[in-house]
Structure formats: structure tokens, C-alpha cells
């Protein structure tokens, strides 16, 4: 997953939301955004808006709830971009 074309971009989008005691180096594809990276659940809403802006897509509430890990987010982005192309 680390060679996924959007991995580095997503990593940069996540970086500002990491608490001071969580290093960006600890971010892994299977990292849980809330329980492992300690991203505040209200900040997850802001991260979703940043992802929407970055890729010009729209993530619905149910999709946000399914977005548990970094990999989940990448799959979601892929699906949305595919849907946009078709």
C-alpha cells in the first residue's frame, strides 16, 4: 500500500491532525485513524473535507464511518475517482 499513488498525498493530509505525541513515522497502511493514530473524532470530519478538496470528490457520512484505516481511505479515494471517470 505504501506504493499506492495517493499514499504520500494522504499521509501529508493526515499529518496536521496527529497529536503531538504521535509521530508521522508511526503511520502505516493498516493504522487505525482514531484508535492508533489518536486523531480526534471531530478532526476526522476536517480530514474528510481536506480529502474532498484534494481530489474533488464527496465522501458521504456512511463512507466516513467506514473509513477506519489509512488503507480504507485509499480504497475510498480510488472508488470515488473511478466513479468520477465513468
Amino acid at each position: 500500500m505504501k506504493d499506492h499513488p495517493h499514499y504520500n498525498t494522504l499521509r501529508e493530509l493526515i499529518a496536521p491532525y496527529l497529536p503531538e505525541d504521535v509521530s508521522l513515522d508511526s503511520l502505516q497502511p493498516d493504522s487505525n485513524l482514531i484508535s492508533e493514530l489518536n486523531i480526534n473524532s471531530s478532526h476526522l470530519v476536517d480530514l474528510v473535507l481536506d480529502i474532498e478538496d484534494q481530489y474533488d470528490i464527496r465522501l458521504e457520512d456512511t463512507e466516513m464511518q467506514q473509513m477506519q484505516t489509512v488503507t480504507d481511505a485509499l480504497h475510498l479515494i480510488d472508488n470515488k475517482l473511478k466513479a468520477k471517470e465513468s
Binding site: P16, Y17, E20, S42, H43, V45, D46, L49
Partner: protein, 421 residues
């Protein structure tokens, strides 16, 4: 048995200085924080003068994380956070570590309305049907308790964490409420203060009421003229002040530096009767408020060395002096020294009481009474009541032992505190 309450820390984000050092030298020199704001003309303001803190990016970055700075628009929150954290640091209290809440320390940080700039941004998005684009920052920056909530997050304060609101009496009332909580034994320490937003959205309502200064914008420092015959209305302002209140035993135990003791206080309302209204004070309400504070302090009016009035530079200043003379039953040369800080600070609205309490308390350790910079043409009705020597025009050396501070607000509300060195 009521506990004695002392002030062991202070913080200030004022139009003429940020931090105690800059602020105290500005107050001593009579340096004005009022500036010409031509951008207010674009909104159709009549008054183009205002007083707002000059906060550098460096200062913001000292108190707010990069993430907190994203979409940070609420100026009142910025000022309140700065003043509150400064008061904590100034009290030499430790930076909290770990997960243990501080159950004995609370926060009361008031405001009139918070984050008007942020609210405008939110309203524009909402009106465009983009509510889902608001994100997580709209509520914490626009809720009235935004500052107390932010400070509690930083400091782990877990006693009462709340926000009071009583218009221009808010700041003085916040300190009164916090002191009462300690005096009654419900908290050991309280961080108390108030803030007010800057800008057109915070001030326009007052311009619309045509009560703002009509002085020429050429001389901003001369535009706010409390106690003066040429007072032409108040200059809108903003900022924040904060004090760390503590039980005297706790302060002594940890060897804290003590600025002064809150020996008395009162809050009330004139009930919008007997001449009182939404915008005017019932003089009887003011008199009762001052007398109650003095009674709680168990002092005689003659023991008051100095008064810091509300004195906004409208035509009502002589009425306030009349109320003070009636409350104290002191006239002419027997009246204490009196000053207003609104000549330099403008009218900080909800922030005024806390900013002015910080300045009033600084007079103890600075051993002076700050001057009234623009009262050289003192209102004749004021001079019929008290002697001109009671109104220092320049900062005077003095060693005040007891200072009274009062603030009054729309809705006919009053707050008075008595401090002793």
C-alpha cells in the same frame, strides 16, 4: 467560614500592550491603543476609530498549535487564550502533565459574543447550502464558553468551567463569580477573565446606535475622553484580561507572589426602573452595588484610596461620578482618586472589566495611580461633585492600599470589586 481570596497571576492582551511588562509601561506612560481604522468606512461606520490588540503571528504560534491555527478566525478566542495562559504562567503554576484532571481549579471566562468573524464565515457557508463544509471549528470558536473550554483543555482544569455574560460588566463579574467560588470553599483556584472580538461585526451595533466617538480620526489618542467636557462617545475596543485567583492559604503554602486580595464584591441590576433602561443605569442600582461591595469588604469608604470607574466617555460620566459620591458619601477633596482606563484602551466592551481590573491591580505594585490622559477639560458637572485633584491627569506616584473597581453594562447590570494590597 469564608476563605480569603488573593490574586497570584495576571495576563493581558490589550490594545496598548500584550503581556504585563508591555502593558504596565504603556499604562504608566498613558500610551493609547486607539488607532485609525479606515477599513470601517467600507462598512459605512460613522466612527473610524477603534482599539484592538496588535497580536503578532509569533505570539499566536506561542499559544496555538499549527492545527488550532487552521481556520482560526475568532479574535476574542485568540485574546482570551493569550491572557488566560499568561495569567497561569504568571502565577508560576506548573504546566500540567499527564492525565490527572485538576479537580480543584476552575475557569470562568466571559464574553458578549464570541467569534463574530467565524460566525460570519459559517453563515455564508450555511446560506450557500454548504453546511457540511463547516467542519469541526465553527462551534468551538463561536460558543460563548469557547475560551473557558479551550483553556480547560490546555490546563486540565476540572472544577467549574464556564462563561458568564453581562455586557460591559462581564469581566468584573467573572472575577467576582470566581472569587465567590473560592470564598465559599467550592474551588481552590479559579482562572477568571473576559474577552471581546475585534472588528466590524463586533462593533457595528454600537455604531448603529450612534453612541460611538465622533472625535476626529486625525488624533486617535485624544478621541476617547472620559470625564471630559468634550467627551463625544466611546471608542469601540477589544482584547482580554485574566487573573488567577486562589485561596490565601493555598497561595501562602506555595509561596506565591500576591498582587492583592479581593476583600469585597457585589453584582446586581437596577431592574431597568427608576431611570434605568436597556442602555441607561438606574443610579440606585449602582449605589447599592458599590455599598454592598464595601460592606462585604468591612471597610469604611474613607479607606478607599483609588477608584477605577466604568467611565466610558459618553455624556453619562458625570452621572457615574454622582453615583460614586452618593454611594461613598464623600465629596470634593474627601473623594478618593479616580481614573478611567478607557482613554487609552477604548471601551473593551465585554473585555473592559477584566483588562481594567488587571491595570487597577498593577497600580499596587507599580506604586502609582495611572493618569486620565484626556480629562484636562474636566466636565464642569464632575467638578461640582469632586475636587480636580481627585482626577490625576498624568500618572502619579502613590501607594494605594485599597482600590475599588466597578463596571456597568447594557441591561442595567452592575459589578463592583474591592481590592486590597
Amino acid at each position: 467560614m469564608r476563605k480569603r481570596v488573593v490574586i497570584t497571576g495576571m495576563g493581558i492582551c490589550a490594545p496598548n500592550g500584550i503581556g504585563l511588562e508591555e502593558f504596565s509601561s504603556a499604562m504608566r506612560a498613558g500610551k493609547s491603543g486607539i488607532r485609525f481604522h479606515p477599513e470601517l468606512a467600507d462598512y459605512g461606520f460613522s466612527c473610524l476609530l477603534a482599539a484592538q490588540p496588535q497580536v503578532s503571528q509569533e505570539t499566536i504560534s506561542k499559544y496555538f498549535t499549527p492545527l488550532e491555527q487552521r481556520n482560526l478566525k475568532a479574535s476574542g478566542l485568540i485574546y482570551g487564550a493569550i491572557a488566560g495562559m499568561q495569567a497561569w504562567e504568571d502565577a508560576s503554576l506548573p504546566e500540567p502533565v499527564g492525565e490527572a484532571p485538576d479537580w480543584d481549579t476552575g475557569i470562568i471566562f466571559g464574553t458578549g459574543l464570541l467569534g463574530s468573524e467565524k460566525f460570519r464565515e459559517a453563515i455564508q457557508l450555511i446560506d450557500q447550502g454548504k453546511t457540511r463544509r463547516l467542519g469541526s471549528t465553527a462551534v468551538p470558536q463561536t460558543m460563548t464558553s469557547g475560551v473557558s473550554a479551550w483553556l480547560s483543555g490546555k490546563l486540565g482544569c476540572a472544577n467549574q468551567v464556564s462563561a458568564n455574560s453581562s455586557a460591559c460588566a462581564t469581566g468584573t463579574e467573572a472575577i467576582y463569580l470566581a472569587a465567590e467560588r473560592i470564598a465559599s470553599g467550592q474551588a481552590n483556584r479559579m482562572l477568571a477573565g473576559s474577552c471581546n472580538d475585534s472588528g466590524a461585526y463586533a462593533w457595528a451595533g454600537f455604531d448603529g446606535m450612534r453612541i460611538l466617538s465622533s472625535a476626529s480620526p486625525d488624533k486617535p489618542e485624544a478621541s476617547s475622553r472620559p470625564l471630559s467636557a468634550s467627551a463625544s462617545g466611546f471608542v469601540p475596543g477589544s482584547g482580554a484580561g485574566a487573573v488567577l485567583l486562589e485561596s490565601r492559604e493555598s497561595a501562602l503554602e506555595r509561596g506565591a507572589r500576591i498582587y492583592g486580595e479581593v476583600i469585597g464584591g457585589a453584582v446586581n441590576s437596577g431592574g431597568q426602573r427608576q431611570g434605568g433602561s436597556m442602555t441607561a443605569a438606574n443610579p440606585e442600582g449602582i449605589i447599592r452595588c458599590i455599598r454592598e461591595a464595601i460592606a462585604q469588604a468591612k471597610i469604611s469608604p474613607e479607606e478607599i484610596d483609588a477608584i477605577n470607574g466604568h467611565l466610558t466617555a459618553t455624556r453619562r460620566d458625570p452621572d457615574e461620578i454622582r453615583a460614586w459620591t452618593l454611594a461613598l458619601e464623600l465629596y470634593g477633596k474627601s473623594f478618593p482618586k479616580i481614573n478611567s482606563f478607557k482613554d487609552a484602551l477604548g471601551h473593551g466592551l465585554a473585555a473592559s472589566g477584566s483588562m481594567e481590573c488587571v491595570a487597577a491591580l498593577l497600580q499596587f505594585q507599580e506604586e502609582c495611580i495611572y493618569g486620565n490622559n484626556n480629562a484636562e477639560d474636566t466636565h464642569p458637572e464632575v467638578l461640582e461633585l469632586i475636587d480636580s485633584n481627585c482626577i490625576p491627569l498624568k500618572t502619579e506616584a502613590a501607594t494605594p492600599k485599597v482600590i475599588a473597581k466597578a463596571s456597568f453594562g447594557f441591561g442595567d447590570v452592575n459589578a463592583c470589586l474591592i481590592f486590597r494590597k
